[in-house]
Amino acid sequence: MPEKDDEQSFSTDIINGLAISLRTAELHDSGNAAVITQLEKVVSLVNEAVSVTGTFRIDLIGGFFFENNARIKYPLKHHIHFEYLGTKFKERNLGAVIFREEIVLEDLKTFIDAFIAAGQSDTPFETLQDAVSALAALEVDTLKTGKQERSGTAQLRRVIKKTYFNAVSLSKGVMDKMKSREAVSVKKTRRMVQNLVDFLSEEEQFLLGMTAIKNYDEYTYHHSVNVSILSLALGQRLGLNKQELTELGIVAFFHDTGKVDLPSELLNKTSQFTDDEFAMMKKHSTFGVKALLNLKDLDPLVIRSAISAFEHHLNFDCSGYPRVQMPFALDIYSDIISVADRYDAMTSARVYRKKAIPPDVALGLLIRDRGSKISPVVLNFFIMMVGVFPIGTLVFLDSRELGLVCEGSNEYIDRPKVRIIVDGSGAKNNYLVDLSEKSPDGRFKKSVIKRLDPNQYDINLAEYLM
């Protein structure tokens, strides 16, 4: 084996080489000069590995690559190749490539051709296995996984989850910097929001599900991200274009930045606020304006953010706070953020309110204020988005099953997907039902007939949504 600073960089090179060969071969074909050059490198690397370890195998387990049972670590710059190859392995239900002995270029070429062809097959792994079965030096093994979801979706969801938590970390970083009056990079926030916009078009319900998990310690930071996601989803329903959505997402992300100027003892107070404390709390809207306008050089984004920071607790009828001498119509971003903010705040447990309001009850409270405190048009779109039974609602079905709503339906606002936790026989269970499914006679198979407060029973939504 050639001398390497890090033994594992050798495996990294093989993974990279395979990923690059595949990508190039997908564009051209395996006989292309560029592909051949790359394959020759991989052959050389594999053969050297085989010469040292005998059989050399690469496994994909739980989204990670392993070399002879040791997890292959890699620098960030190779992340894209690893992600790519991992996805392609999963799509083909391929869990391992095993090199029993030294290979020749033709072996690897056969493997690459078979790998690409398997992508078009209904039984990809079998197609691949058949094609390489004649090779003595190389064999493949199936993916060891119990997951029922499509691997592509699972992969995407993992990335979304990662992005969500990165966004929360970013929120913390931004607020810390604002507190210490350091310069804040809007660039990172923009990139984060652009990602969320992309994910919304593919996995809106999963992203909304991420906002429904509320029992984190860091409420303030999760709240900024949740309001941004809920606003984006709502904005998308309202027909905003990509650029407007990006702007809205950033504005929503910054809506509560005024809180950095509030005393932490006030933010963490566990009992009800006194009048003075509440008056101070209300100041975060105006603090936000000042903080944002001092954040950096003024530009349309900062100005829009400051407007919504000021307006997000003003009601549709211009009541609320801060009191203004000259009433004005709220910015539509503020209308959107206001709904997202109220919903997320109500459905979250707070230091001064240990139990959150159940999502369906929170929705009912928003509906109560439709037209007075809340823009009726925006709220109507919001209801269409979260559905009559928003994610996290504990529901009882006419099939006598008890479950948690885990995904809304784009087709029927009252027919979400439900994660059943107690089945019709009264036994604990864990499976998914889709309430939009119909019987052959055209009637819906199951419907919600009752709702309960999941917080009353300390049901941890994260266990069922993550």
Partner: protein, 545 residues
């Protein structure tokens, strides 16, 4: 040719075009030519390579694992430019259009300052090219603080009490059935309303932020808070000026003025607001205004004057500075008008500007003083303007005359001796504008007592007679008639010029008593004399009629 060589050629063409794009404005023919050349070249290359997929490494671009570009340069490195922003792959499809290449180059040519809150990736995302695709590693910007695993572990630790699930189930059996909630599906008109509101909010966001800032200003409890608001308002003033939002700027200043006149608003707030006004008139802000004025794209004279009308006297010095910087005649004219309007609030500031070394600025300031019509300041010009430039001195002399500064008689008299004819002529005309006996005598004495007068250029001499004729007095007419009777020993031509001027002057005075004298020269052999005599006779004839 080998595939990698072709791709290298493609990249070189791209890099060369990038340099041109950075160098020239979009409307420059060189820019268009660079894009045309690039498109022609890449079309040719794409025919041989098909789509091009580039893997991006810190110092190199790879195609099929082979380096097609590499550079160790720290600053001008095409690979690192992409890599540092998290770009890991770029694919150019062979159907790429000229417009796409143009816009792509436009994105990658921007420097940090031009990118503002964007980066290459966010711009590529915004633009969403059909034939140029990119892949990004978002991990580059991730806050790698291990928060995900910590947070997930924390929420999952709070596991649901299993017995509670069964309690919930039992409760569900006896719970009340749901009551339906009212769902109002959005309509087409709701979408339309949202679109209208979006457009409206974009249009009025500046009005709104101004209102919000004023709300905060009125609510400010102490000096510190007011100072904070002053600093925000000042920043907003700068933003509005830099971006040509003059309408909003006027709105802001109008609100300031209303607040300053509002008796219910405290003095402290008023003091703060005055700071904003002073800032709006500061050299920095007025200088920023300059580019808008110079290209006149988003500035009209009325707006500029309205703006200036809200400012305090500190703006005068700022506008003087700007006047010295402006490139276009039309924009200088606008600022001259502004200074004419606001300059009288502080004439000293205008007079101080006269010490500037730039002749054109001083001349324009003299013009401003003339337009204001301040005679005291105008008189001071005689002492304060030391500029040697003829155009400046001429302007001062004109001002003295226009404003009839009789105290400046000796200044004008001295100016009759100036080296430049233009200055002397201006002095003559200004003396004429004074129309005093002293001024008349100065002119007569200058002609009579100055032996060299006869040798002056005909045009200059004629101005003397023309101006003197304004008095229309008999002593002037007698003085003129002497020239028609006078015999001279020198040049006949010079003598005829003087006679012609005198005849012309007599005609303008309009005293028909001199008609016979003039008629003597009606058929003079000198054409200049003959012509002027005839003009004078016709003029006297009209007078008599």
């Amino acid at each position: 040719m080998k595939q990698t060589h072709l791709i290298s050629d493609f990249l070189q063409a791209l890099i060369s075009a990038k340099k041109m794009v950075k160098l020239y404005q979009k409307n420059n023919p060189m820019y268009g030519k660079a894009i045309d050349n690039l498109y022609a070249k890449v079309t040719d290359i794409f025919q041989q390579t098909g789509d091009i997929l580039l893997q991006i490494e810190p110092r190199a671009l790879l195609s099929g694992g082979e380096a097609v570009y590499s550079s160790q340069d720290q600053h001008d490195n095409f690979a690192f430019l992409f890599f540092k922003e998290g770009l890991r792959e770029l694919t150019f499809r062979k159907e790429v259009t000229k417009e796409e290449l143009d816009e792509f180059l436009n994105i990658v040519s921007r420097d940090e300052k031009e990118l503002l809150d964007h980066d290459i990736v966010s711009l590529l995302w915004d633009r969403n090219f059909v034939n140029i695709r990119h892949t990004v590693d978002e991990g580059v910007f991730a806050e790698d603080d291990g928060y995900e695993s910590k947070a997930v572990q924390q929420v999952l630790e709070q596991s649901t009490p299993q017995d509670q699930i069964m309690v919930a189930y039992r409760d569900a059996l006896t719970a009340e059935d749901i009551t339906p909630i009212e769902v109002i599906p959005p309509t087409e008109s709701d979408f339309e309303d949202v679109r209208i509101q979006l457009e409206r909010d974009t249009d009025i966001r500046l009005y709104k932020i101004i209102n919000i800032i004023f709300e905060l200003c009125w609510q400010a409890k102490d000096r510190d808070e007011q100072q904070q608001m002053v600093s925000i308002m000042n920043a907003l003033v700068g933003y509005l000026v830099n971006n040509g939002h003059m309408e909003n700027l006027l709105d802001l200043l109008k609100k300031v003025r209303i607040s300053l006149e509002d008796e219910e608003i405290g003095d402290e707030i008023k003091e703060s607001l005055k700071e904003v006004v002073r800032h709006a008139g500061s050299p920095d802000v007025i200088k920023s205004l300059g580019s808008s004025i110079d290209d006149r794209a988003d500035m009209d004279e009325e707006t500029l004057n309205e703006y200036a009308g809200y400012l305090e006297t500190n703006a005068i010095g700022s506008f003087i500075e700007l006047l010295g910087e402006l490139k276009n005649y039309a924009s200088r004219k606008m600022v001259i008008q502004v200074l004419t309007n606001i300059g009288q609030k502080d004439m000293k500031a205008l007079l101080d500007g006269l010490s500037d070394r730039r002749w054109y600025l001083v001349r324009n300031l003299v013009l401003v003083i003339r337009q204001i019509g301040d005679t005291e300041a105008a008189y001071q010009l005689t002492a304060r303007v030391r500029h040697a430039d003829m155009r400046v001195r001429t302007e001062v002399i004109r001002t003295i005359g226009d404003l009839k500064i009789t105290q400046a008689l000796s200044f004008l008299e001295e100016s009759l001796e100036a080296e430049e004819q233009q200055v002397r002529v201006a002095a003559v005309r200004s003396l004429g504008q004074l129309r005093t006996e002293e001024a008349k005598q100065i002119l007569i004495q200058h002609i009579r007592g100055n032996r060299s007068f006869i040798s002056k250029h005909y045009d200059e001499k004629k101005v003397f007679f023309e101006v003197l004729s304004l008095w229309k007095e008999s002593d002037v007419a007698d003085f003129f008639s002497e020239f028609l009777k006078f015999r001279f020993y020198f040049s006949r031509r010079k003598l005829n010029e003087n006679m012609a001027c005198a005849a012309f002057g007599l005609g303008r005075i309009g005293n028909s008593e001199y008609l016979p004298l003039l008629k003597k020269y009606e058929r003079a052999s000198d054409s200049l004399l003959r012509e002027n005599v005839r003009i004078a006779i016709r003029s006297l004839g009209r007078e008599r009629a």
